[in-house]
Amino acid sequence: MKKLILSLVLANLLAACASDPAKEAAQEPATTAPAATATEPAAAPAETTAASQAPAATESTAAAAPEAAAMPGEVSVHFPFDVDAVQPEDRATVQAHGKYLSENRGSKVRLEGNADERGSSEYNLALGQRRANNVKKLLILSGAKESQITTVSYGEEKPRATGHDEASWAQNRRVDFVYK
């Protein structure tokens, strides 16, 4: 676990940035390149209900139907064990959602935080909430309004994968974007 934590120092630094609006704003121009699909004109925010559809499928839909601002294809971001900071590789995804929300003020998203089963159920409920809160902060920094976002934590109570192994746990440590 030590190794894991060390490898996450960078992630935590980024999270620290995310909680500082001034720093974040200054950094914004440097970190361009949101998800390619986001800048591409594509389908209107079709009834995205469940957060579980395959990203690949959504991307191809986006490419096929050029129109106004696209809803980002990726609808989940994942986290390492016992970590609540948005990971560097997921920042572009979150920023693309922020951009989408800023261009679609009528859209609302619910961020659903989840955790794997390692930990007490109450601790994991708290951890899922922190994950959702951190995604929310980055969404707001990326242009979304607070009124467009709600957060909820399911902790370890609604696992996507029920195995007791890292492959399952990795899937369960995530925040889903659910548009209404």
């Binding site: 390692r118 930990g119 007490s120 109450e122 601790y123 708290a126 909430q129 922190r130 934590s153 399911y154």
Partner: protein
């Protein structure tokens, strides 16, 4: 304790399910009292588990007794006991059961000192015919108390969550896991049941409103009320020993923090101000202190804070993460779930010496809570991929697993002594 004492058990819950449990006991106490529980006269004519087996199973589970087979001898009255036949037995439980004309059941029992040839307890109990198990637990309590000097907990209840797929049930059961009664069920998660000190209410977390909300349910009327439903998560209820307030955890101001609230939901006060995760509060028996889980030091550890808030002292320093603290009833130690190397253990730590004792071999062992007499600890573990109930004696010597017929058992908590 001479003569027959009359006792009528109050009307209890109905709707008990007859769940079958597989109970496995390992280990033994340092000193075991040899005792023989004789089949009660007429018990085979009463439906349900024979009362003598309820009594002997209760005593066996403590690890403090060695059950001696009566080897065919079947006295039901003191006059029928020939003490020369009971060499090696220190205590003898005899009795009889009979159906009364009004449909009720009368149970008579005696505890005999087989060494001094003396009667220690004589008792007659009348109750509804579906209360035979409850009478058996009461008899076991009296025997336990007389022979060990500690209060028995066999008549107390436990609560837990049973999950089957997406279906969740809040369940109350006898301390031995039998007599399950469903208090609430739904297709949304239920978490963190907590008994009120008088045993008449249970607070818990339900997701029926789409997010974690704290409910309080009366076990007398079954009425449910919302204690806390702020934005974000409302969770981890814990009652103060006087029952007048609860500690809860809210995320309405960001990260999970501890709050106090009166039992009627009024007078909300924030206690911790950490910006990290603070959760799983639990009151000390004197009501002055809270233990809780926090990751303010980087990883989940146990901390203590005065009920009015202020400086929080870190109490656990063991490697790995520590969760779910609960005070012992005497306030001298606390039990918690210790996670290290991918394994959860049940550990107990003494406040004064700070000494830590790992009580269990390790596994998926979570959510420990003391029996109200402090002698046993109930927790959740896993067997063949399913959550089950388990107990360990507070000295770690005797372990017990209870495998229910179906479902995944989570979040068990031992209830208080019930006032007679």
């Amino acid at each position: 304790m001479r003569g027959w004492l009359g006792l009528i058990l109050g009307a209890c819950m109905t709707m008990s399910a007859h769940a079958t449990l597989d109970i496995e006991i390992t280990g033994a106490g340092e000193h075991q009292t040899p005792i023989s529980v004789v089949r009660f006269g007429g018990e085979e004519r009463i439906a349900g588990q024979p009362i003598s087996s309820v009594v002997s199973n209760d005593l066996l589970r403590t690890g403090l007794f060695k059950l001696i087979d009566p080897a065919g001898k079947a006295p039901h009255e003191p006059g029928e006991v020939r003490y020369v036949e009971w060499a090696g037995v220190e205590a003898l439980v005899i009795g009889s059961v009979r159906q009364l004309d009004d449909g009720r059941v009368e149970v008579r029992f005696r505890l005999l000192d087989a060494v001094r040839h003396a009667e220690l307890i004589a008792l007659a109990v009348t109750a509804k015919s579906d209360q035979v198990r409850a009478i058996g637990h009461r008899i076991a309590d009296l025997v336990y108390e007389k022979l060990t000097g500690s209060a028995g907990v066999f008549s107390t209840r436990i609560a837990y969550v049973n999950r089957e797929g997406r279906h969740y049930r809040l369940v109350m059961a006898d301390s031995d896991g039998y007599g399950e009664q469903t208090l609430w069920s739904q297709n949304e998660p239920i978490m963190s049941p907590a008994w009120s000190p008088d045993g008449k209410q249970i607070a818990y977390v339900s997701f029926e409103r789409g997010h974690a909300t704290v409910f309080v349910q009366s076990l007398v009327t079954q009425k449910r009320t919302v204690l806390a439903d702020f934005s974000g998560s409302n969770s981890a209820p814990a009652w103060s020993p006087d029952g007048r307030q609860l500690a809860i955890v809210l995320t309405r101001d960001g990260s999970s923090q501890l709050y106090l609230v009166r039992a009627d939901g009024s007078d909300l006060r924030r206690i911790t101000f950490s910006e990290t995760i603070d959760t799983e509060p639990t009151f000390s028996p004197d009501g002055k202190m809270l233990l809780f889980t926090s990751d303010r030091g980087g990883k989940a550890q146990i901390y203590g804070v005065a009920v009015e808030g202020g400086f929080a002292e870190r109490l656990t320093f063991e490697g790995g993460n520590n969760f779910s603290p609960r005070f012992s009833p005497d306030g001298k130690s606390f039990v918690y779930s210790h996670f290290n190397g991918g394994t959860f253990y049940i550990a107990v730590q003494d406040f004064e010496s700070k000494q830590v004792q790992i009580l269990t071999p390790g596994g998926w062992e979570k959510k420990p809570s003391f029996a109200p007499n402090g002698k046993l600890i109930l927790f959740a573990t896993e067997s063949q991929g399913r959550g089950i109930l388990a107990t360990v004696s507070s000295d770690g010597r005797v372990k017990q697993k209870m495998v229910a017929q179906r479902g995944d058992i989570r979040e068990p908590v031992w209830g208080p002594f019930l006032k007679q």
